[in-house]
Subunit: 154 residues, 2 copies
Amino acid sequence: MSADIDQIIKRSQEVCASTGNKLTEKRKNVLTVLLASTIPLSAYDIVDKYKAQFQESLPVMSVYRMLDFLIQEKLVHKLETAGQYMSCAHITCNHQHETPQFLICDRCGSVKEIGIKKHIIEDLERSIQSTGFALAHQQLELHGVCKQCQAISK
Amino acid sequence: MSADIDQIIKRSQEVCASTGNKLTEKRKNVLTVLLASTIPLSAYDIVDKYKAQFQESLPVMSVYRMLDFLIQEKLVHKLETAGQYMSCAHITCNHQHETPQFLICDRCGSVKEIGIKKHIIEDLERSIQSTGFALAHQQLELHGVCKQCQAISK
DNA sequence: TTGGATATGATATAACATATCATCCTTTCG
DNA sequence: CGAAAGGATGATATGTTATATCATATCCAA
């Protein structure tokens, strides 16, 4: 485990402790698998990587439960448009989480998580207000082509 | 078929003709099923409704193909976060389509399609520009609770 | 009328997700 | 200490969304 990942895990344990929950060995391992990946993974991808990395087979049911837990602790995001999961890019940040905005490359599958500007969200909310709709978990998933893939196709 | 739906279908036929394509009987029926629904439907939902409405069984494979066609003609939208489909609320409008923005009620499943303000999209694009990412099909799916459901829960 | 293009059918399977009941492990409290 | 309770995980089955592939049918143009 790289020093970086080690540090993020340590911070994750603190996050869980602060909510009165436990980052068990297996939950920690699932998070580690996600941290080690440059692209988001499906629950079934995680089963495979987990087996390769830890020589231990995990039922997909358990992976889903552990993902639910990690999402609840805000250590992991689910990409709804892809049915995939990725670790939060800001686990070690102390500041409050902004509304996450994901730039999903439809060519290579990489995803960049950027914070969305507050005033854009505010504009969006204002634009919605007249309809009486109450926004829930705000998360924007934007599809396109990343810089690297654009360079390649030229 | 209601007069409203009848008119939308007529307009849809013109749209297809203008792109050199045909709104066949079955494609028209699939669109009719979607137009008649107040909530978005999955491909499998459409199979069921189609059977009830037209006394004819359609393979789900065909439904997916027809949906692909209708989406290409911009008569139908796919909600990526839900795996469901709905007819475009603006088929009979002549103006150019704005970036669609969907307000999805997580309680009752209803979806409201509203046009997003141009300046918000421009802000979003500017916010993304620095990363070198090229946006593709722009569509925002926002989850929350609609006005009616808020009223009920009070 | 025939031949190519487009549309649809049939079958199989992949990929993502949940329901349910059983088992195991830890914590707590008498 | 030891049993009860609650949380975490395992095992099995099944539901839901989507695609691959090959076959058949329909339509239009040369």
